[in-house]
């Protein structure tokens, strides 16, 4: 596929006129999607898709076109040359773009990790192990490719095989446990252990449901639950532009009027190599950007466009200015003693469908889902009924934070809208007091 991208790139670069600049972004994936319900296959198939984004720049004007490619060169050649001619004609009609910025230096990179994944074999193993349970979920497995080239000569390539199996086990009362296994190479021992963990939790969730009334509770938020809250924070919270225009839930914190607890340090950390470090306009992203340091707002993610609009220095963030690989530093709560530290309260494994109640003040709402338990004197009592919470981020990460756990979990994004996500999070758990449940 790399050779194909180079062949197309050469074709386009050779067709350029002197004053023109071209930026190309290439995306491809070859994915088997196997959907399960009741421990059988609900839908299964293969998707092959190839895409190229062509950004023509001429006289400080820009116009972009995204094309689906067939990888039949004869067919694609007609499409992309026609598109180049169209862009050339139309770009002149548009006004100059005052926030146009692109990399002119050459920063080449290449990462290829093809470990080979057999989706049929994995599916058989999943069906075998789950045959006596009510399992529902999705296996996404195969190759993901990201490429970049520009007419200055830069070339970047990021290609890897990976799988992501995301599943839930249901008991006869409709209570469920959620689990996930994602990696580049299938390890049956690891999978069997994770699956065994979830079947053991099923026995706890099978206990008598504990009916919770609205009120304030001491809660443990697992890494998955905390990640949902951090996802909401990322709706502009770390964006320089969103803080400027006021759509950031953390705009008061960015202005220095609010803070989190000293133990809270967030960073955008690309060192795990899951997401490529090259930006869609060719810049290379820093490996680590500290966003919130010891509870204080440190730095935003700044795209090149925002840098020009607000006269600041960018840090190679994409235009959407939200993290792709966020990390929250560990705390001091012993991960093996979460229940005793929680003592009496609610153990929240997952939260669901979060949104804002008051964005100005970072107040959010959402619901409990999958594996949420009432805990008394450090012992699981039973699962709780579905409850709605309504709480501010400043309470959760600030004055109501008891502490963060001393072990992080790597969470791979399971999103497959349009394409498989390569975003991830590295998050510990947290214990929070007076967490408000409202309905």
């Amino acid at each position: 596929m790399q050779e194909y991208f180079k062949k197309i790139s050469d074709l386009l670069f050779n067709a350029l006129e002197k004053s023109e600049i071209l930026i190309l972004n290439f995306d491809a994936e070859e994915t088997d999607f196997i959907r399960f319900n009741k421990s059988k296959v609900r839908q299964a198939g293969k998707v092959n898709q190839v895409n190229i984004d062509i950004n023509l720049i001429s006289m400080k004007k820009t116009l972009r076109s995204s094309l689906r490619l067939s990888t039949d060169f004869k067919k694609d050649k007609v499409l992309i040359i026609r598109t180049l001619f169209f862009l050339r004609r139309e770009v002149n009609e548009l006004p100059k773009d005052p926030y146009l910025m692109y990399e002119k230096n050459q920063n080449h990179s290449e990462l290829i990790e093809n470990k080979g994944i057999n989706s049929f074999d994995i599916t058989m193993r999943i069906l075998d192990i789950s045959s006596s349970n009510d399992m529902v979920g999705i296996l996404s497995s195969g190759k993901i490719i990201k490429g970049f080239a520009n007419s200055f000569g830069q070339f970047n390539w990021h290609e890897s095989d990976s799988f992501n199996f995301d599943w839930s086990l249901y008991d006869k009362n409709g209570k469920a446990i959620k689990q996930n296994y994602a990696d580049q190479k299938w390890n049956q021992e690891t999978f069997a252990r994770l699956y065994e963990d979830s079947t053991q939790q099923l026995s706890v969730i099978g206990k008598q449901e504990q009916s919770i009334e609205p009120g304030a509770f001491r809660v443990y938020l697992s890494p998955s639950a905390l990640n949902e809250i951090i996802d909401m924070m990322s709706w502009g919270g770390f964006s320089y532009k969103a803080n400027k225009i006021g759509s950031s839930p953390l705009h008061l914190m960015a202005k220095g009027e609010k803070s989190f607890d000293d133990s809270v340090t967030f960073s955008e950390d690309l060192s795990n190599g899951i997401s490529p470090r090259f930006h869609s306009d060719g810049f290379i992203k820093p490996e680590n950007t500290e966003l919130i340091s010891k509870g204080k707002y440190e730095k935003s993610l700044i795209s090149p466009r925002s840098a020009l609009e607000y006269s600041v220095t960018h840090n190679a963030a994409e235009d959407y200015e939200s993290p792709v690989s966020i990390k929250l530093n560990c705390g001091e709560i012993d991960n093996s003693k979460i229940l005793s530290k929680l003592d009496t309260g609610i153990y929240l494994n997952n939260l669901w469908y979060l949104n804002f109640s008051d964005r100005n003040n970072a107040r959010i709402t959402g619901l409990t889902r999958f594996g949420c338990f009432y805990v008394k004197n450090g012992e699981f009592v039973g699962p709780i009924n579905t409850m709605r919470f309504d709480e501010t981020m400043y309470n959760i990460f600030g004055e109501k934070l008891v502490g963060l756990t001393n072990k992080q979990q790597l969470l791979m994004d399971t999103s497959t809208y349009e394409e498989r996500s390569i975003h991830s999070s590295t998050i510990p758990g947290a214990i929070v007091e007076d967490f408000k449940l409202t309905l």
Partner: protein, 477 residues
């Protein structure tokens, strides 16, 4: 769309129990002007095919962006390979005899074609709208945009079906925020609500300039307004909030694949059980909800779904009583229930699943003025800005951009940060009055997410203004 697609593909159809081939070609164009600058214009061209094979107790699909003959052959091989593998391992294998041959077409009517207006004219227009939005010094953010999507499909199968459809829709958007003493309030237009199947003529009809000035004034007023009080109160809900209420607490819980458990790992299931259809009192007697693919210009109007089932209007809820689910042919076979043509896919690279089409709340008899004058103490809610509901679609909380207090039958001052919460099973029984046709609006949302693998699709909702009694309303911090 290739004119000769059917002729090329028919000879490739494999000898299996049943096979369909769905070709999709999509064009998208997004133009935005933000804070008086035209952002990079985005154009997208996409085409591909999905082959679905049912054979001997197994089912599989193959999807590819390679629409050449060799690419389609390869997709057929993938579909057969997965069909072979899943033999006797499927949750459900359909009754193939229930699939009927269909032929026909559907095309959105575009009085003024999108392509006839130059990119420059569209950009200039949006810059003018920007000027109308930035009409006050306290406005901190503003922007306007137009998105155009055109989705052309052709469906053929081994029983000689041949369906061609082309759906085009336009989504205008405006946003304006005002700041007062570090309180930022935002008004929007479009976004979650005002998408229509139409040509560029739709833009002429909605008068974005005029709306822009009103939105700007409202954003400034909201930034200085009082917080909404916490209380149990009567609410009157405008169509641009009603559509989210219908979408989340009627549309999603009635999706049959949720009821059958397919979505339990992601979008969730439903409080609705199969035995409730035909007898369950979903709401008050004035609640009438239809699946209606026939409304001109509504977002999901069409003649066929993506599994080739012919679409027609059906009641989902009649006089408050639950009638039928939103389930396509295959789901309805699984559940042994009636179907609607709702098996839809977002593109060639995702398989069809049960989706809302046009889910409409039918108008009643009361005009807006009479509705307001009947209320002693209440609040009028406009424009959704927050939505959250549990995985069984029962406990919900929604937020609105603007609230207007109603006192002794009259609209009074506006309040900010308006939220309300409730439980679906009781909420619709509090529906007191349904607005007449003068309050009825055809709206739709372009971003309904569901399914594994994930899919975002456009959904139509048409609704009048509605009055509910005794709702739990509250404000911000």
């Amino acid at each position: 769309m290739k004119e000769d697609f059917a002729n090329i593909v028919r000879p490739l159809l494999p000898n299996v129990d049943y096979c369909s081939i769905r070709f999709v070609s999509r064009y998208s164009n997004i133009i935005n002007a933000t804070r008086n600058v035209v952002e990079p214009v985005f154009i997208s061209e996409d085409e591909g095919v999905m082959v679905t094979v049912y054979n001997d107790g197994g089912c599989g699909y193959g999807a590819t962006s390679n629409t050449s003959k060799s690419g389609i052959k390869s997709a057929i091989e993938s579909a057969i390979e997965w069909a072979d593998f899943t033999k006797n391992r499927l949750t459900y294998y359909p009754k193939i005899s229930g699939i009927k041959k269909q032929s026909g077409s559907y095309f959105t009517s575009e009085d003024e074609q999108w392509s006839k207006i130059s990119m420059k004219d569209k950009a200039d227009y949006l810059l003018e709208v920007n000027k109308a939005l930035k009409s006050k010094s306290s406005i901190s953010n503003w922007g306007a945009g137009i998105r155009y999507n055109s989705i052309e499909s052709q469906f053929i199968d081994t029983i000689d079906s041949n369906i061609r459809q082309k759906l085009s829709y336009i989504l205008p958007q405006m946003v304006v925020s005002a700041e007062y003493k570090k309180e930022i309030q935002t008004r929007t237009y479009g976004g979650h609500a005002h998408a229509r199947q139409a040509g560029y003529d739709f833009i002429d009809t909605i008068k974005m300039h005029d709306r822009a000035r009103i939105l700007a004034e409202e954003a400034v007023a909201l930034s200085k307004a009082e917080n909404c009080d916490d209380k149990i109160i009567d609410v009157v809900i405008a169509p641009d909030q009603m559509i989210l209420q219908i979408h989340e607490s009627i549309g999603h819980p009635l999706e049959l694949d949720r009821i059958l458990g397919d979505e339990r790992n992601y979008a969730g299931s439903s409080f609705v059980k199969p035995e409730m259809f035909g007898n369950y009192k979903y709401g008050s007697e004035c609640l009438n909800v239809t699946f209606d693919p026939s409304v001109t210009s509504e977002l999901a109007s069409c003649n066929f779904d993506d599994d080739g089932t012919q679409a027609q209007r059906e009641y989902l809820i009649k006089d408050g009583i639950l009638q039928r689910p939103i389930g396509g042919l295959f789901s309805s076979q699984r559940a042994e229930m009636d179907h609607v043509a709702c098996s839809r896919s977002c593109n060639w690279n995702r398989p069809p699943i049960d989706r809302m089409g046009n889910i409409n709340l039918e108008p009643g008899q009361t005009n807006f003025s009479d509705m307001i004058s009947s209320i002693e103490d209440g609040i009028y809610l406009e424009t959704n800005n927050s939505w959250s509901i549990d995985d069984k679609r029962n406990k919900f909380q929604f937020g609105c951009e603007k609230g207007t207090l109603i006192k002794n039958g009259e609209l009074k001052s506006i309040v900010k940060n308006v939220n309300y919460r409730g439980i679906t099973e009781s909420f619709w029984n509090n529906l007191t009055t349904v607005g007449d046709k003068s309050t009825f609006e055809i709206l739709g949302t372009s971003n309904c997410g569901k399914g594994e693998p994930n899919q975002t699709i456009f959904v139509g909702h048409a609704t009048p203004t509605c009055h509910f009694k005794s709702i739990d309303v509250f404000g911000g911090v």
